[in-house]
Amino acid sequence: MTMSGQAPRVVLVTGKGGVGKTVVSASLALHYASIGLRTVLVETAGATNVSALFGRTGSGYALTELRPRLSTLSLTPEAAIEDYVVQQIRFKRLYTMVFKNRVMGPFIDAVPGLHDAVQLGKVFDLSRERRAGGHAWDRVVVDAPATGHGLTMLGSARSMMELTRAGPLHEGVKQVQDVIGDPRHTAVLLVSLAEGLPVNETIELWERLGESRALLRGVALNLCLPSPIGAADWRDGSGVLDAVPNGAALRGLVERRLQRVDQQAAAAERLHAATGAPVRALSDLRAARDGLNGRPWAEPDLLRLAAQLDPSGLGL
């Protein structure tokens, strides 16, 4: 067990679209808050799914407190750029003149990597923010964008360093990179599903992490389903269905689930073999799922997923 004080302050969660990055980030953040750590859950690229998950409405660039010790904010590149630039040049009016300019706006938009780098910069700022003699936040959990974009964001500080080579922005992103690239300060969690393509993609994503592979602390295999019966009992007992109307279809129903359970085990093994990282199976909490009805998640369900993730076992 790692001392929480020594665990990385920043945890970035990424993976393919729709696999459960937001749910996993929220579980982890809630877990931290529940063990007494001051935690901020950061959404990126304008996503605003966290507040609904906690049964709140509205969230933006300003911090919103969700629970005691748990706050959230949603980064947009525009707000992060404004924040950064106003900090740098100290004149809001000048910012407006340059960045809100009809012609210059699209140009600034086009500076490659800038959008992502300023968001990463904000994450860095949060991780360093001081309050009353200590850090303002014990944990910064980042619900990062999906696959390709997530990678670009993770690499954006380095890209900006290459692009700028010198100057204040270069110095700024270098500081960010020193923290975001360092496994003592920053961890990455990948979220995957137990299906062929998502597993392939997770492995591909891991390959493309390049130098950031050292940050990987674990893989969450989300939406795992339980087995309704042991394989041996099924083999010995399923003959009874021969006499039952719809027997073949009913048999198929259970056998598909059993296949699925096998597939989960195989996926966990493949992911571990490829990445070397611990793989944690998280249950499909269908009953809890806001998925179908858009209802918020119940805290115990999120904490249950966090327990399955076992952050302290991952050194987080």
Binding site: M97, N200, N293
Partner: protein, 372 residues
């Protein structure tokens, strides 16, 4: 203008709902009905290649061996491609540069090398460019376009206009002004302040490189503007259809509706909803009527019972979700329900099975294929 006979199908939707799988399944279905079809994925990941079993996909069309796979011959053809943004961009530069030297100047520019792969929206822009190339080649009856998750897909719908706005010399005028060969001078008025802020931020060298990039690009501007107008027209053509892919999940449905509003605003033709992974109701089973002759049989019956209950719950929830989308969507919108498949979808046979639930050419474009 674009060749009039190639029709375009675009699949959009939020993350992981099945855009890539359904694009492939639609393309296969259309090809097997005798059409010449290309399917283009702009996802950076190698998904579609997996799905179509053609190994590594590339920027060039690879024929999917339908005939060998099915043994049937409907006269159709299917090519699969994956976007390579960099080489598409390079080709575009070569094509529209006034001469080889001008092209080389752009290709050698450090900012270009960064921008062509990392520029926000450049991937999307190149996808549109590639789409246009495929359409204009005249080699296809239908081009099916897979897209990244919605918010990015929005970028790509607007990418051509955004990019040609960017390439507009307006930017350059604001940024710096070429003062003879090799020198750069900031323009008068406000632009001086603009330029100095940028320099303070990015460093002088970088701003110079960026300016040079825009300068080198100037000769290409007109050609590219023409292209972006052609794309604009293509996306709004009467034979183009946008299908919104959703799962039964509330968040995915909300995204689909959000996208629908954008289509309206952009006057791009909506083809219908594809609601993917809809659970079927379980077969009828009544546990009380059966008792096992052994403990294992009793457990097997319990397992069947539990599985049926779970499946029935899910199917009921999905039916509600489908009804909700129908109610929230436009009246009379086409709505295709694609069942949840068991097993893995990277098998071609599974993609073919999906096709049964998907629209055919006639239901998309009418019997005469005009989409009128």
């Amino acid at each position: 203008m674009s060749a009039p006979h190639t029709r375009v199908l675009v699949c959009c939707g939020s993350g992981g709902v099945g855009k890539t799988s359904l694009s492939a399944a639609l393309a296969i279905k259309l090809a097997r009905s005798g059409l010449r079809v290309a399917v283009l994925t702009i996802d950076p990941a190698r998904r579609l290649a997996d799905g179509l079993g053609v190994g590594a996909l590339g920027n060039d069309a690879r024929e999917v061996p339908l005939r060998a796979l099915f043994g049937d011959d409907g006269g159709g053809r299917l090519d699969a491609l994956m976007l390579d943004a960099r080489s598409t961009f390079d080709n575009l530069v070569r094509r529209f540069a006034p001469d080889a030297r001008a092209a080389q100047r752009v290709l050698d520019n450090r900012y270009y090398q960064f921008a062509s792969t990392r520029l926000g929206g450049s991937h999307e822009y190149m996808a549109m460019e590639r789409l246009l190339e495929l359409v204009q080649s005249g080699a296809y009856d239908v081009v099916v376009l897979d897209t990244p998750p919605t918010r990015h897909a929005l970028d790509f719908l607007r990418a051509p206009e955004r990019m040609s706005g960017l390439m507009d010399q307006g930017v350059l005028k604001w940024l710096v002004m070429p003062a003879g060969v090799g020198g750069w001078r900031a323009l008068e008025f406000g632009s001086e302040a603009v330029s100095s802020v940028l320099k303070a931020l990015l460093g002088e060298g970088t701003v110079g490189e960026i300016a040079e990039f825009f300068d080198a690009f100037r000769g290409l501007g007109d050609g590219m503007r023409q292209r972006s107008l052609a794309v604009r027209a293509l996306l709004r053509a009467p034979t183009t259809r946008f299908f919104l892919v959703s799962s039964p999940a509330a968040a995915a449905r909300a995204e689909a509706l959000f996208f629908l509003a954008v289509l309206r605003e952009e006057r791009m033709p909506f083809g219908g909803f594809l609601i993917n992974r809809v659970a079927a109701a379980p077969p009828a089973f009544s546990r009380g009527e059966w008792s096992g002759r052994s403990p294992a049989e009793a457990l097997a019956l319990d397992a069947v019972d539990a599985q049926c209950a779970e499946q029935a719950d899910l199917a009921a929830a999905h039916a509600k979700a489908v009804a909700a989308l129908r109610a929230e969507g436009p009246a009379g919108a086409a709505c295709w329900l694609v069942p949840e498949q068991s097993g893995e979808l990277h098998e071609l046979s599974a993609l073919i099975a999906l096709g049964a639930a998907l629209p055919d050419a006639e239901s998309v474009w009418g019997a005469d294929g005009t989409g009128a």
